[in-house]
């Protein structure tokens, strides 16, 4: 009996390991490519366990490209668009949840379905005519299309979870409707605000296409910068892997830090940029 149970457990464990293998191996390989020497990286057969670890690739990335400047661009655009998305989206999510006007939700679904490129052609022409192309403004506004629907959608769900009776008490005590939103509903849904903000930031940080089209050389965000470098240095794997790891590391760490909330919201919303 116990032997059979043990066998079953081992089989289940093996299955879990099999399921995790592609993901774990991918990130291991990314890390390993970034820490290995050129000799190890270009050897055939490939070196699975590095002979020696080196930080040379990371140093090379910083010396050969203005990575900090691109990081500043990414942060400005990410923080700017996320702040705007929260400012507009949180009250809207509350308004929709309380007044049950789900027509807005439909509008959000259309935004979810439409390919980014179909916004980009008119924007590109418009921003050019307004003299806004190649500015932070253009990038922040364009990234709003990723963050705003996401924030509204997630916050709608969170506000629906706040029982109206809680706010009725505030209203009876003479609080205005907007006041009860600020003092009752908002504090209760803080986890939703944190999660939707983080997700909006992550999807803005990850975005490639908006900045490829709308940003000039000086305003490139990290993904664009790495993509451009890549076309020149096809086989210089170590530095490329180091750059790839550095731009995605903040996102992975954020995900791990707030894992449970993010997982729940993503499952509920099914929304991504």
């Amino acid at each position: 009996m116990t032997a059979r149970r043990l066998a079953r457990r081992l089989a289940f464990g093996g299955f879990v390991a099999l399921l995790m293998a592609p993901t774990v191996f991918f990130f291991y390989w990314m890390l390993s490519l970034s820490l290995k020497t050129d000799v190890d990286n270009l050897s055939n057969p490939p070196v699975l366990v590095p002979h020696a670890l080196t930080l040379k690739n990371y140093v090379y990335v910083f010396q050969s490209s203005p990575l900090p400047r691109y990081a500043v661009n990414s942060v400005v655009v990410g923080v700017g668009s996320t702040a705007l998305a929260l400012l507009l989206g949180v009250p809207a999510g509350y308004g929709i949840a309380r007044s049950r006007r789900y027509g807005m939700a439909l509008l959000i679904l259309v935004a979810r379905i439409t390919p980014a490129l179909s916004f980009l052609i008119p924007w590109f022409l418009l921003f050019q005519q307004l003299g806004l192309s190649n500015t932070y403004h253009a990038l922040i506004v364009s990234h709003l299309i990723i963050g705003l629907p996401l924030v509204i959608w997630i916050m709608m769900g969170f506000f629906e979870g706040v029982h109206p009776d809680l706010e009725d008490a505030a209203l009876i005590d003479g609080c205005s409707r907007f006041g009860s939103f600020l003092r009752v509903a908002l504090p209760l849904t803080r986890p939703g605000i944190v999660v939707s903000g983080i997700l909006a930031f992550i999807f803005s940080w990850n975005n490639l296409i908006f900045a490829v089209v709308l940003a000039g050389p000086k305003l490139q965000t990290l993904p664009v910068a790495v993509f451009n470098v890549m076309s020149f240095e096809q086989i210089n794997w170590g530095p490329l892997a180091a750059a790839a790891l550095m731009i995605t590391a903040p996102v992975l760490l954020l995900t791990l830090a707030v894992q449970r909330h993010i997982v729940a919201s993503l499952a509920a919303g099914g929304l991504k940029g």
């Binding site: 289940f12 299955f15 050897s43 057969p45 379905i113 089209v213």
Partner: protein, 304 residues
């Protein structure tokens, strides 16, 4: 007491109803913003699609009627991109759906380290696509890549992966599957968590095997969630841009040029704005028809 309760209920109702203008004011800024960033471009695109736009020309672009659409219908590159997009989408939906549902069934059972492993499992969908594409490109390398080495360990010969016209699309769809399996897993897992446990217990007591419980109880109950995952996955797979653009830019030749890549090249490499706008319209209709079709399917299946 009863009257009291009635009065309370009425006043509560009216209090909730009366605040509508406040709610409208709260929704308005976001609604206007979304309309501006969505409706304006769509209207502009419809207009562009019937005009001949050229960069730097002075004066308004001339009206050309349906010429852009006609050009599109006789454009081989466009016509070839459509079945290619559907093949990519088919693999990019089936792969994550099957693997993601399997993973959800595994993660629905309690085991030590489950929470952490689930988060690690969901990292591919959060990671920066450019980084993902970059590393996969290195792994696909025919001579120095790790994938061909791993295949050689189990006695399979080297594959050309993204470097051959025939294998490029399945290889890209494999990356897409790797990236988005966690997305399906999270949605289905959410569904499994919301299910009642009584039917399982009853069936187990009645002597049903694990497989029977899965096949006849769990899967039918969670099917609406799987359908939602399929709908969202289909929309996203049709729109996939980053990983294809970074790894192949539509190559070799045009072998991985999907609609989205074709659209990008027409608009921002060749500046055929009129033609590209016509592509957007067709593409948008395609996405709408598919979304509505899938939604109807979902309605039908959830009634059963």
């Amino acid at each position: 007491m009863a009257v009291d309760a009635q009065v309370m209920a009425r006043s509560r109702r009216s209090r909730r109803g009366r605040g509508h203008h406040v709610y409208t004011l709260m929704i308005l800024p976001a609604a206007v913003t979304i309309l501006l960033i969505i409706a304006f471009p769509l209207a502009y695109t419809l207009w562009m699609a019937v005009h001949e736009y050229s960069m730097g020309a002075s004066g308004p672009p001339p009206f050309v009627g349906l010429a852009n659409y006609r050009q599109l219908l006789s454009n081989e590159r466009f016509l070839e991109a459509i079945p290619r997009t559907f093949l990519f989408t088919l693999i990019g939906v089936l792969g994550p759906t099957i693997l993601g549902t399997t993973a959800a069934l595994v993660f629905a059972r309690p085991f030590p380290g489950r929470g952490f492993l689930r988060t690690v499992f969901s990292l591919p969908m959060m990671a920066t696509p450019v980084s993902i594409a970059l590393i996969w490109q290195m792994m696909f390398h025919p001579q120095l890549g790790i994938l061909n080495y791993l295949l050689s360990l189990i006695g399979i010969g080297p594959q050309p992966w993204i470097f051959s016209r025939t294998s490029v699309l399945p290889s890209l769809a494999m990356v897409e599957t790797w990236q988005w399996t966690p997305f399906v897993m999270l949605i289905v897992l959410g569904g499994l968590a919301a299910l009642p446990t009584e039917p399982y217990e009853a069936a187990r007591i009645d002597g049903a095997s694990r497989w029977q419980v899965l096949r006849y109880i769990a899967l039918p109950l969670v099917w609406p969630y799987i359908m939602v995952a399929i709908i969202l996955r289909a929309i996203d797979a049709l729109k996939t841009f980053d990983i294809i653009y970074v790894m192949t830019q539509g190559g070799p030749g045009t072998a991985s040029e999907t609609l989205n890549i074709y659209l990008y090249l027409q608009a921002f490499a060749f500046y055929n704005i009129g033609l590209a706008s016509a592509v957007v319209v067709v593409y948008f209709l395609l996405l709408m028809v598919m979304s509505v079709g899938l939604l109807i399917t979902r309605q039908k299946t959830s009634w059963q």
